[in-house]
Symmetry: C2
Subunit: 310 residues, 2 copies
């Protein structure tokens, strides 16, 4: 398969034009998003929906996140990622496969139908995780495009995936909210450096390879004109395009940040061999076997019950 987006190169990096649509053959008739929302996503590469889930739903989601972390307290499963130099759980991956509640949440009609509308096809989950970022010592995360990693290390051929972050704690400007460069999804920034085998073991905690250079970030920022912060109350949901340049500052404030994170990929964009010359990353980071399109179902979060199709 032709590599549309070569990266991890030697020498000087280039900025390439995006070769895929942003919204894939969809209109407002194809899903819950309105024209205005589709336009915002198309232009900026993300869509922030305040109070998407109700106060009561957020309370249940927070409880389930804690319950899951507690379930995994003594787990030695590779999908449980702990803080560097500590025993605290930072993230639990693959929750759509290993946890019934989060499996049902990942198939919830309310979010899946948005992903389908944006990607113009049926979708499946490429990666999922719940994140708990403690207060006082939340680390920063440098600028990156998720697609660059997914393309090089997982073999995602095209830009036809969308991340959905369900925000479970209030995100203030000062507790390390996600920062995004609007419009950056229209350009592919090549990164310099070869990818070592088993790079993921480090990169889940800190990015080293697959890091864009300063000049490219400056260029994107000049194009985009600003940095946006995903701030808002718990229960808000952020959809952002696979290639949108994003990162976050540290968090010295006492307020922790928790979220649930689903990556929806188009069923027409299944993973192939990684475009970096390495073995694929493990299944809990990038699903590649037994891929089936999600059958979206209404999910009553308060009752933790999947409803019968109307």
């Amino acid at each position: 398969m032709k590599d549309l987006y070569p990266s991890r190169i030697k020498g000087m990096p280039s900025i390439l034009e995006r070769k895929d649509p942003i919204i894939h053959n969809s209109t407002k008739e194809d899903g819950p998003l309105q024209r205005k929302e589709l336009d915002f996503y198309e232009e900026n590469g993300y869509l922030f929906m305040e109070n998407f889930f109700s106060f009561e739903e957020v309370k249940v989601l927070q409880q389930e996140l804690k319950r899951n972390m507690n379930d995994n307290k003594s787990s030695h499963q590779p999908y449980v990622v702990r803080e560097t130099g500590g025993d605290e759980i930072r993230s639990v991956f693959d929750v759509h496969n290993n946890d019934e509640f989060f499996h049902n949440l990942s198939s919830h009609q309310r979010i899946v139908e948005i992903a389908q509308q944006l990607l113009g096809s049926q979708v499946y989950i490429n990666q999922s995780r719940i994140n708990f970022k403690p207060g006082f010592k939340g680390k920063d995360f440098y600028w990156h495009s998720d697609f660059e990693t997914w393309h090089m290390e997982d073999g995602m051929p095209n830009m036809r995936a969308v991340s959905c972050s369900i925000i479970l704690t209030d995100n203030y400007s000062y507790n390390g909210p996600l920062l995004l460069i609007p419009g950056s999804h229209r350009y592919f920034v090549q990164c310099v450096g070869e990818t070592p085998e088993n790079h993921f073991e480090q990169s889940l905690k800190m990015q080293n390879i697959g890091v864009p250079d300063h000049d490219s970030i400056n260029w994107l920022l000049e194009k985009g004109g600003r940095i946006d912060s995903a701030t808002g109350p718990a229960g808000s949901v952020l959809f952002f395009e696979s290639n949108t340049m994003h990162g976050s500052n540290s968090n010295i404030s006492p307020m922790p940040r928790s979220n649930v994170f689903f990556v929806f990929n188009s069923i027409e964009n299944k993973l192939v061999e990684p475009f970096a010359n390495i073995s694929p990353r493990p299944e809990f980071i990038a699903n590649r076997t037994n891929i089936k399109p999600i059958d979206p179902k209404p999910f009553d979060i308060n009752k933790k019950k999947v409803l019968l199709q109307q």
Copy 2:
């Protein structure tokens, strides 16, 4: 001299009531600040004045900051502090003594008269520095009270000092602005741990000792009700009380942050022996010899000229 604010203790830290006034016997008749501004400072422990200096003045100040850093490029003076693991200059200390322009700025009537009004006496400069925080990799700085350090390591007896930060680059919410806990200046948070000799060599780059515990920060935040960010355009000036709890997050954005920083201390609050059982820190960090009150003079920043007294 009695130690009003014991710290660096063994065992459990306490939170002590402040024993000094916040505004020292002054009214709006004693200086340029209005009643409303004095009240805000009294209640919150800081005062942010937008566009205090004009666009033209800011340009000159930025040029002089660069000129000073350039002058010090190959300097081995201890007052030139470089980035950890790099050669770049992070701060130049003692600029009110070693640089004519910044000496004149530090005596500028417009700022000195505010310090005099807040401290209710003549003032002198206890510490000065210019700071250049690069974009992309600005580190975070954990919560601290400056007074706790000045008291323990420099021997400042009372809370009767005010910091003045002249902001020379736009401070956005996402490029690591100063964060403050309003009202925290009313309480002294004891810190745990003994102070090693020559602690300052490390602490100018990163705080380890003199760090408040999580419970105390949570307590202050509950009292204060919020975290405030010192965001605003270049040319704004922040005055903050010696004991106001503050810190800053990292800065992954490309926007650097530069400022000029003067600590005004009351002439009636001169340094004594450090309250931690250590030798005093060097003169470039804490002035203790040849202390004379500042004679405030109008300074024409654009012409770089001290004006004759009217």
